[in-house]
Amino acid sequence: MKVGLFVPCYIDQFYPQVAVATLQLLEKQGCEVVFPLNQTCCGQPMANSGFANLAKGCDRNFVENFDGVDYIVGPSGSCVLHLKEHLHDGNNEAKATYIRQHVYELVEFLVDVLKVEKLPSSFPHKVGLHISCHGQRGLHLSSMSELVAPPFSKPEKLLSMVKGLQLSKPARMDECCGFGGTFCVFEEAVSVKMGKDRVGEHAANGVEYITGADTSCLMHLEGILKRQGSTVKTIHIAEILNS
């Protein structure tokens, strides 16, 4: 099984350890992983700001880079959802379609495709789970509090395999953190207030770490935690699963 590792631009630049953990995790599961070196961005920052027409260059570049792999896997629910919903390439629509249908967020790939049932990981810490909206409501990584439907959670399933990990869930288990892409700067006041409220709930639960499947949410929460001088740290779920 040939997996193309999709590393979103801001992870490549600011959180290389998340990409390293993702790569190693997939390799340990026996995947043949390639990292196409000319990949850049999924185009979501432009599209979500209303400039989907400016994302065509990103789309073209993405399709060129990820042609010829069986699956495309990335450690970011939001970017993956964007690709699933909006990736098109007028010159290579068949390839774009293949990518849309075979691009996976890491957690769903581990649970649904690789059907991972146990992991050798160990992380003896109290960890708060942050559910990202696009991963949850978009990719259905877990059941949603608004719907009358049976409960399930793919990230929890994986975290339950980690030795020593004590999982803590906030009362508002799927409230948005307020990152929201460019929302975080154009609606700075609301964005930060939402983030402070999320962080507050986890801190009150006495967690050492906040984890999740979306680095963008974690980057926003980390910025707030650091400004507050908090001892709570953020860590991507790939890093825990690879520990």
Binding site: S49, C176, F186, E187, V190, M194
Partner: protein, 460 residues
């Protein structure tokens, strides 16, 4: 409405400046959302009901021409006068004419978001009519000369202390007496006198049933009934999307509406109006005011399925922390953000951006409007039509250029990280960098993942 040219971001920043009050507002509305959750989890067929409601509304929107004409014919046969208004001004003039024709001076009104949309109150007052809102929350905001901040809970932005002060000023209640029972009793006595003295009652319409020509008004306070029963003339105002085909469809919507709105199994009063009593006049004003235009926008037409339950307000993490007035429109919240750009794109260009696209709104919507997808689509329309600031456009073009070319991206990334490490004051600037105002920047590592990969796994 509010005389303001400030946008949602600016108005919400002012709201959040009082953080304890923002927390109180957030928790109050979250309580309503939680009540809704409890109520809907007691209905195993909830998702099926939503599916049915959506299907009935979609069908109705595709056959509106027939159903509206059926409704008019059946209402006429019941002795109801039906008026058609193509816009807000027509609506207001029709209502005023009925008043003038009958020498009416005093009017009571139950909650109607349509009349808020049409700015009926100020129009009537300018024309010498006394208008009293009889929904308690609406009366409170009317006293304060404010627009409602929520379509179901119009005064939800106010605390009991605020209400006490307002009533002290207008109803001469005891200063500093914040007892809710005392205050509501004062409002009750005050409103009774208005009901008795009024010549004409205006109500909204929750559902208009094509096959019977009847309509249903849902209130928790019974104020619509009190007004309509005491007055010689009843005018019911409705947007044309309020129609449902048959009486048998009503149960689906009534089961969804109150549970979604407040977590009640049903609204306290679901009042059915069919025909005027002896000696009474009954009028229905059916209003377009941009709805035909929205019906003609394939990507946005199903926003007209809305039954105004406000579940999307209560669940919206942005609304809860920014307050209804930050949306500067009659209908706030996520649904308002997809309805209002249709009415005025320039004035409401900020609203589709007042969302993180978290999608909770679409999940609670009892008629399954894809609200967050429509917010995304409105962003595309607003940009294409040129309603987004030039600075943002330039920034986006720059970003798109960098990200479209791998070499440019690599150099820019490297330079950016270098600047953040070596010259942190460039990005760590609270005035120029909104991120940094209340958040630290991420640490910039020396090597990107790509650098690591090349070093550790080879490749060029």
């Amino acid at each position: 409405m509010q005389a303001t040219t400030k946008n949602h971001a600016q108005l919400s920043e002012a709201f959040i400046a009082d953080e304890p009050r923002t927390d109180w507002h957030d928790e109050t509305l979250w309580f309503v959302r939680s009540k809704r959750d409890k109520a809907v989890h007691q209905v195993p067929e909830w998702e099926l009901l939503r599916e049915w409601a959506s299907a009935i509304k979609n069908h109705t929107l595709s056959n509106l021409d027939n159903y509206l004409v059926d409704f008019e014919r059946n209402a006429n046969a019941n002795g109801v006068v039906v008026h058609w208004a193509s816009n807000a001004s027509d609506h207001n003039n029709i209502v005023l004419k009925i008043m003038r024709d009958n020498q009416v001076k005093r009017v009571v009104k139950s909650k109607s978001m349509l009349t808020e949309e049409c700015h009926l109150n100020p129009f009537l007052i300018e024309n010498g009519i006394e208008v009293v809102d009889t929904d308690l929350g609406e009366r409170i905001v009317q006293f304060r000369n404010e627009p409602p901040s929520h379509i179901v809970l119009p005064a939800i932005h106010l605390k009991k202390q605020d209400v006490s002060e307002t009533f002290h000023e207008h109803l001469h209640t005891e200063k500093g007496n914040n007892d809710p029972q005392y205050l509501t009793e004062a409002a009750r006595q005050h409103l009774r006198s208005k009901f008795i003295a009024s010549d004409l009652a205006i109500t909204g319409v929750n559902f208009a049933i094509a096959e019977t020509g009847g309509f249903v008004v849902c209130t928790n306070e019974g104020n619509a009934d009190m007004g309509a029963h005491a007055a010689k003339i009843h005018i019911a105002c409705m947007g044309f999307e309020k129609i449902i085909p048959k009486l048998e469809h009503l149960g689906v919507f009534l089961r969804l509406l109150a549970r979604s709105a407040t977590g009640q199994p049903t609204t306290t009063y679901n009042s059915h109006f069919h025909r005027p009593r002896n000696g009474q006049q009954m009028h229905i004003v059916i209003v377009d005011n941009g709805r035909s235009k929205q019906l003609g926008r394939p990507e946005f037409r199903n926003s007209l399925k809305c039954i105004r339950c406000a579940a999307c307000f209560n669940t919206c993490p942005v609304y809860r922390r920014s307050g209804g007035h930050s949306y500067h429109t009659a209908v706030a919240g996520p649904i308002g953000s997809i309805l209002n750009p249709n009415i005025d794109m320039r004035a409401n260009a900020d609203l589709p951006f007042a969302s993180t696209l978290c999608g909770s709104c679409s999940n609670v919507c009892p008629v399954k409007i894809d609200i967050h997808d429509q917010l995304w689509k409105w962003r595309q329309v607003l940009v294409a039509e040129g309603y987004v600031a030039n600075g943002k456009k330039l920034g986006m073009k720059g970003m798109a250029f960098v990200l479209a070319y791998p070499k440019v991206y690599r150099i820019a990334g490297k330079m950016g990280r270098w600047v953040m490490r070596v010259l942190p004051f460039v990005t760590n600037n609270k005035l120029l960098n909104p991120w940094y105002k209340q958040r630290e920047m991420p640490e910039a590592p020396k090597a990107s993942f790509r650098d690591w990969y090349r070093k550790n796994r080879g490749g060029s």
